[in-house]
């Protein structure tokens, strides 16, 4: 199989398997690109994921653009990026009418919808724990995270959330 086709297939698989956002996608990306295809070394993967965490946009897209570029330049980057979002675009274009109906449902279907929302909340709470354990290693880290949390609450509706993140980055250059 030519490289470009392999690239497209791999990232379509990643896009298809990426349920529930970045935290779930990471092991999937790692498995496909490092173990299966051996396009990237483990260290390179770590670097990409670290970059993906702190650069704008979804992690899967960041990883796709980066890997695509590494393997075959700008065309590769374009192809991999398109491939990673293609499955969800296709699925959504079929399902959107039903999804919208489900979203506004009341009665029994509404109960399922409310349950689903609570499930998403449980995933968010889990993400705080799993991402937090990876990122917070000391009391200083913890203090900065709490500061960011309080800062976001205080500045809600007044300041763009990204300002708080950038401010913490700036503080980081002094304390780390």
């Amino acid at each position: 199989m030519p490289l470009m086709i392999k690239l497209a297939v791999s990232f379509m698989l990643i896009g298809l398997g990426a349920y529930g956002g970045g935290m779930v996608t990471i092991p999937l990306i790692q498995h496909e690109l490092v173990q299966n295809r051996q396009w990237l070394k483990f260290d390179e993967m770590g670097q990409i994921l670290a970059i993906a965490q702190i650069t704008p946009g979804p992690i899967a897209i960041n990883a796709a653009t980066f890997t695509g570029y590494r393997l075959s330049g700008v065309p590769g980057a374009l192809l991999a990026t398109a491939a990673v979002i293609l499955p969800s675009l296709l699925i959504l274009s079929v399902l959107t009418p039903w999804l919208e109906k489900f979203r506004r449902a009341d009665g029994k279907v509404g109960k399922i919808r409310d349950g689903l929302q609570l499930g998403v909340l449980s995933l968010i709470l889990f993400a705080i724990g799993s991402f937090g354990m990876g990122a917070i290693k000391s009391r200083t880290d913890m203090a900065l995270a709490v500061m960011a949390f309080l800062g976001l609450i205080i500045s809600e509706r007044k300041l763009h959330p990204v300002m708080i993140i950038l401010l913490c980055g700036m503080i980081g250059t002094f304390i780390f």
Binding site: I54, T55, D106, R113, L118, L123, I136, C168
Partner: protein
């Protein structure tokens, strides 16, 4: 002008003023200003869509977010697709998705081409570490917002805790916990009423 009716006959958002161009730029901002991925992006999306543009109410934001968990793929892209389609049909959908993807594509390309060697600089490492730690705070903030809206009684807390145990302690795939909480919701929650307090906008705003 498009009016959509929900089941109870209430008119939902009026979308006459939203253009494809404005959808593109708003999602471009979201794509550009969301450091971190997945759920960490939610607070920025909420800021842009609910607070700044007022395109959706908090309630709609949370229910649309829940849909993005049913469909595979990046949360931000799924949200862009659904909202673009809702507000402006096919052109809105294309504009919103393109707007979301374009900034991260360009930034990563720039990094891969030229900037990657600067990432090892100690000051850069410290800056990014500060950002990463702050992203934990951002996730907690998102958790707080969702909790405030959704955990309205002990039944809700039990369902959410079950989901958390499924994914956290039992280490099952997130989709399992989402399916389980949906079933529990059907079983435990009281029926959603469209008039009255629960389930109406008044309960959320």
């Amino acid at each position: 002008m498009i009016y959509e009716k929900n089941n109870s006959g209430h008119l939902l958002e009026t979308v006459s003023k939203v253009s494809a161009r404005s959808l593109f730029w708003t999602f471009f901002r979201i794509g550009l200003l969301t450091l971190g991925g997945g759920f960490a992006m939610m607070s920025v999306m909420r800021h842009e869509l609910v607070i700044r543009k007022k395109w959706m109410k908090e309630k709609d934001f949370i229910s649309t977010m829940a849909l993005t968990a049913v469909v595979p793929g990046p949360i931000a892209v799924n949200l862009a697709f659904l909202l673009g389609k809702r507000l402006k049909g096919r052109s809105g959908c294309a504009a919103a998705v393109l707007g979301t993807v374009l900034p991260s594509f360009c930034v990563i390309l720039l990094i891969a081409m030229a900037l990657i060697r600067f990432f090892d600089h100690p000051k850069a490492v410290a800056f990014f570490k500060g950002c990463t730690v702050a992203i934990v705070g951002q996730l907690a903030f998102t958790g707080l917002i969702f909790s405030k809206k959704l955990l309205r009684g002990w039944r809700q807390c039990v369902i959410c805790a079950t989901g958390l145990i499924t994914v956290g302690a039992l280490r099952l795939h997130p989709i399992c916990s989402v399916i389980l909480t949906s079933v529990l919701g059907y079983w435990l929650l009281s029926p959603v009423r469209t008039s009255g307090e629960e389930g109406s906008d008044a309960a959320y705003d």
